[in-house]
Each structure stands twice: as structure tokens, then as C-alpha cells.
Symmetry: C2
Amino acid sequence: IAQNKDAAIKKLFDEVHYADIAEILDEVSFDDAIYIIKLLNSEKTSEILTELDEDIREKILENLSAQEIADEIGEMDTDDAADIIGELSDERQERVINALDDEELAADIKELLSYQDNTAGALMAKELVKVYETWTVAGCMRRIRGQAKDVTRVHSIYVVDKEDKLVGRLSLKDLIIAKSDQQIADILKDNVDAVNVNEDDEEVAKIMAKYDLEAIPVVDDNNVLLGRITIDDIVDVLKEEADKDYQLAAGLTQDVDSDDSILQLTKARLPWLFLGLIGGIGAFIIMEGFQGVFEKYASLFFFTPLIAAMAGNVGVQSSAIIVQGLANNDVKGSINSRLLKEMFLAALNGFILALFLFLFVWIYEGSINTGLAISVSLVAVIIVAGLIGTFVPLFLNKRGIDPAIATGPFITTSNDIFGILIYFLIAKLILGI
Amino acid sequence: IAQNKDAAIKKLFDEVHYADIAEILDEVSFDDAIYIIKLLNSEKTSEILTELDEDIREKILENLSAQEIADEIGEMDTDDAADIIGELSDERQERVINALDDEELAADIKELLSYQDNTAGALMAKELVKVYETWTVAGCMRRIRGQAKDVTRVHSIYVVDKEDKLVGRLSLKDLIIAKSDQQIADILKDNVDAVNVNEDDEEVAKIMAKYDLEAIPVVDDNNVLLGRITIDDIVDVLKEEADKDYQLAAGLTQDVDSDDSILQLTKARLPWLFLGLIGGIGAFIIMEGFQGVFEKYASLFFFTPLIAAMAGNVGVQSSAIIVQGLANNDVKGSINSRLLKEMFLAALNGFILALFLFLFVWIYEGSINTGLAISVSLVAVIIVAGLIGTFVPLFLNKRGIDPAIATGPFITTSNDIFGILIYFLIAKLILGI
């Protein structure tokens, strides 16, 4: 496409939404991407940069000078600007910030960079519409015309007192409906939700989703208004969180996507596979210990994959239910009552499955004893697997560890080993070997 | 708490946010919940009803008359109203809609109920601020003061022509900044994104997330403006979608949470467990077929749990990456190139793991031959498992089936069987039995 028809390309891209351009740039060759970026005007490219895939953005930024980056940054909202600068090396961060013309912006970005990852502070933007409670509606409208130019979307107007402490909020609608000589203090809504700047971002997401908020102000410990978080950032947090849980359940240790290099994918996949290998070796050692049983009841060994699979599946099911419940804040009651419920549940499921298995073994093998031994062990294995699957995430959560790591290979592997051990112990007992 | 101190309770709850009250009602006894609902004024209770857990809302609605429900519905936004009426039986739906005072609202709700589940139509609300392109800014402001009372939040003002076809949009900000005698047609932005009323809701979510939209207008096939969808509804869609994928990966067939009854939980859990049982029986039959091998190489059998676990884990990892990639629209290239990449990846992972396993078997068992047989089979099993895990979701997706069902027990079970079969076949070949 890029055969030096600059004007044509420029015109073509001018009419396309920046999110679509970002998608195109993700796919074209790297040189073309740089070429197109340099061609377009900086208002558009700054939007494109925020939308690009992180890997590609990193490469493009390496090819821009500190001044060029600073120009792009100057066009961005403070939160996007801080995110992108945060991806640079410390030394380049310095240089880019120093190259910014706008000193206020530089200060805002420095402030945003100072907050810890995954806090409200790291997520918020400095752009907001702020009015003082002593202003009148008419004066307020005048000021808003000025302030609102910097703010992409006005969700709420935040009202502060003379110490910049948050005292209430207003919607543009309230302002339009109000008479122009009324004082802000008389028409503000004082039940304004706000989050502390150090609040965890997932907590912020929960609050905003629960109260259906589209923007929430961020304050410091003294209730001084620092910034605001908008719902589109929260959508990203929710998506990231869901992806992370899903990946943990699938046994991936880091955020990868299918286009990553084989090396990156291996790094994400190998650790849990290695755990599975260790588990398998554990199972081997256990089974070898029961080798003597083989001479009499060889078929017992042929059921180990079944036992291991059931233990794994039941464990994953029960842990997934708990992990989701914890994420949605609806796991109530004590750990003991949870375990009791899971025990009944697993026993019921186990009994139904064991009945079926018993009939199969009885008919196929013609041995009631073997059938009984295998079926009873299956029930026991399912109960234990269910209890482990329920207990581990609850325990991790109590310890402040993300319970989602208890799903997937971790639970499968430990349940495999426990399951096989229990199986042989019980079978041996029943068959009297 | 509820010892007939009505006034005190009323006062207490008046100051609490409806989402918090809904949470409290989810926890108190059912009679208390009904009592509290009847106590509070209907503006608040209608908000509470929309926030309640579906199970509890159903029970509460059963205890209200059609007229009482209609009164609650009258206070709600059209989208929430339609959702709640949609939960009632057909016959009660009729009665409640007939009991509505507001005929326009009744018509809107009937329209919303007529759209299919999981489409833009089922998600949208009828409330929006609509202006005609021929109006002036001043006239527009007057009309908006009227219309905006029904709309909780004004995101965008939609501009239509005289046939109600969508021609553009305006923000309140644009309106405030404009001169009062300008015509709307002169200041509108004509690059307005809209979705068709029959569009899939997940598609709408993707569009809104991609373009960072907070509201999107919904139009019919003739571009006539029908309603709008706001980002808070999309947050719910995203959450539901993530939960569904997670549950499928964990082997749960329906949306359950940990507080559901044992019967409901069994219904969600048993089907996939049953599949696992069938798989296990398949593995049993395969292993029995190789019984003769046992006399010479008993230890081969002790590695079946390891082989099955690795096959399952690799399958889940590769399918999860594909499922997530498909959900994020970033799986590019042909199926063949995907499979080739996965083959390299699985071969690399498999080789590393097999090397470790070989060393273990060699040292522990003292047999190079056995070690070699097991290790080579492991590599083969991992490659096949990776290919199945990659192919199945891509295939399902091509066929228009949700690829997420290919994660979890489905892939684990089929990989268990294939894995064990391949393992014994290759081991037999290498050991020359």
C-alpha cells in the first residue's frame, strides 16, 4: 500500500477511526507502521498509540526521539500519557517528561507515575471539571466552557470547598435545569461516592459496577480531590481480571496471546506442565508401591486414569465455584459450613457416578467384589477432591493470596496424587489384600 | 431487626444506597425482605428490585400483585423494566403490562420484550434525548430540559431527520459551547457509530470497548433510531460472558453460584463428570487391551496417570489460548499455520519435559530402554494433545459453535483417551513387544 502516495494514505486514514488504524498497524510490517505514524498528524497518532498492542507500541516508541514522544504525549489524556511513559525505561521517562512544553502536564504525569500499579491512583486521570461551592450557576457555566475543552467527556462536575476537598457533585443536566443566579452550594448533590487514591483497582471496579457509576472521583486521605476514574478504564480492568483468572485456570503463568513467540508461550506454559510432571512421577511412585496388588487384581490399575480424571474434574469444579463466588463477594458463611455442603454434594455426585461404574465393572468383569471396591473408592476420592477444591481457595483467600491460582493444574495435580493414593488404600482394604 | 419499628427502619434505609439495600435483602429472611420492600417508597424499591439476585427477586415478585409490580415497573428505566417483566410467566406479563398507567411505557416494554435474547434490542433502553436537525440550539436546550428528566444520564444527544433516521450526535458540551441561534444541523457530528437492533450483544460490547464509547444508539434496518445502550449494561454483558467461559472451562454446564441448592449444583456438575467417567472407562478398555505388556514392563502402567495428566494439561492450555484469542479477535492466519506453530511449541515443551522424565526413569529404574520408550511417547502425546486443543476450538468456531465448550472436561477427557492409546502404541513399538 505504502508506495509513497503520502497524500492518498493521509487522506484515507483521516477518515478512519483511530482504533481501526491501530488494528491495521498491528498487522502491517513494522517499517510501514513507523512510516504511517510519522505521516499522520499528532492528534490522531497519539490516539492510535494508546490503542496499539503493547509489544508493537514499545517498538515504535524506540524509534521515536524523546521530543517526538513528548509531542504525542502532549495530545493525550493524562492517564493514557502516564501509562505510556510508564512503559519506557527510567532514563527515557526523564527525558520525555523534560521535553514536555506544558509544565502542568509534566507535573500531573509525574504524580500519576508515583502511584503504585493496580491502585486507583494509577488508573485515574487528572482531567476533570471542578467548581467551587461558592460559585453561581452562571459563573460556573462560564468556567466549564473553559475547563471542558480538556476533558473528553464530562460525566460529573465535582464541587470542592476552598481547600479543594470534595463536597459534592453536579451533572451538566442539573446545571442546565438550574436558574443562573443560584449558588452551586444550593444545588449540589452531597452524596458523592469517591475512592481513596490507594484503593485497589479491582475494588474500584466492584464499586463502580455495583453502583452503576460512569465516573468516580479519587481523593487522598484528607478528601482532597485528585482525579477521576471513568468506566472505560474499568472495563479494561474487568477484562484483564477475567483473562487472568481464565489463564490461571488453564495453567498459563502469564498473560500470553496466540500471536506471541514460541519462546514466550513456552515460558507461560512450561511451569505448570512441569508441576504436572512432578505429580505424575508422584503417582508413579505410589502405584509402584502397590505393585503386589497387581497379580491378583490387575484391573484395579486400569482404572487409575478414571480415578485421576474424576478427582481432577471434581476439584476444578468446586474450586471454580468458590473462586467465582469470592470474586463476586457472595461466599457467605463459615469455611466449615462450606465444606459440609461440598461433602454432601460430592457424596451425592459420587454415589450416582459410582453406581454406574459398579454396574459396568460387574457386567464387564463379572466380579462384584472388584466393582464394589472401585465404586466405594470412587465415592471417597470424589469427596476428598471436592473438599480439597473447596478448602484450598478459601484458605488462600484468607491468607490474602489470589484464590484463582488454586484452580487449574495446581488442584488437578494434587487431586491426582491424593485420588490415586486413596483409591488403592481403600481398594486394598475392601479386597482384603 | 424488624421488630415493627417501621419508621426507624424506613429512616435507616432512606439514607442507604439501593445497591446496598439489595445486598442486605439478599441475606435477610424472605419474609423480612418482603416486609421491607412493602415499607419503602416505590422509587427506591424499584431500584432495589433491579439490583436483587434473580432467585430472590422471583420469589418477591410472586408475592406482589400485578398492580404492585406495575407500580414498581413504572419507576424503572425501560430496559430494566423489560428485563424484570421478561422473568415473569407469559400470563403474568400480560396482566402487569395491562396494569401500567403509562401507555407509552407499556408499548416500549412490549417492543423491548419482542427482541431476541442476547441482541442489541434486548439490551437497549428506550430513554434517550433526541432532537431534530432543523431545530436551533436554543429550542433544543428547551426540549432537552423536558426530555432529560426521564433519562438518568445524558451521554449523547442524538440528532434525527424528519423520518426519525439517525443523522448525527451532539454532546451536552457542544450544545453549551454553541451559540443559541445556530441550527443543530450545523453543529452536529455526523460520524456517529450505531448498532443494528439485531446485533449480537457480545458484538456490541466489543464495538463499545474498542471505540471507548459510553453509549451507542440502536437503529433498525432503515437507520431509524430505536433506543440506546449504555456502558453499564455492557459491563454486565462482559462479566456474564467471562463467567460463562470460566464455568465452561471448569466443567460446569450452567450458571451456578456457591449458594445454590445441592440439587442445582449437581445438575451443573454431573454432566461433565459423567463424560469423564465414560472417558475413564474408555481408558480402562484400552489399558486392558495392552494387559500382555504388563508382564514384561509393569512400570509402563504406572506412568499412565502422568501421561493422561500431561495430555489434559497441554490440551487445556492450547485451547484456552485459542478461545481467548477468538474472543479478542486476534487469531489471525490460517488454521494450518496455527497447527504448525502449536506443533513446534508442543514439540519444544514436550522435549524439555521428556528429557527430565527420561533422566528420572533412567536413574530410578535403571533402564534406558524403558526411559526412552516413555519419553518418546510423552513427546508424541504432548504434540497430539496440543494439536487437538488447537484444532477443536478453531473448528467449532468455524462451525458457529461457541469454542469455549472445547475447554475443560471435553478436551481433558478426549486427550486422556488419545494420550493413553498413543502412549501404549509407541511404547510397544519401541520396546518391541
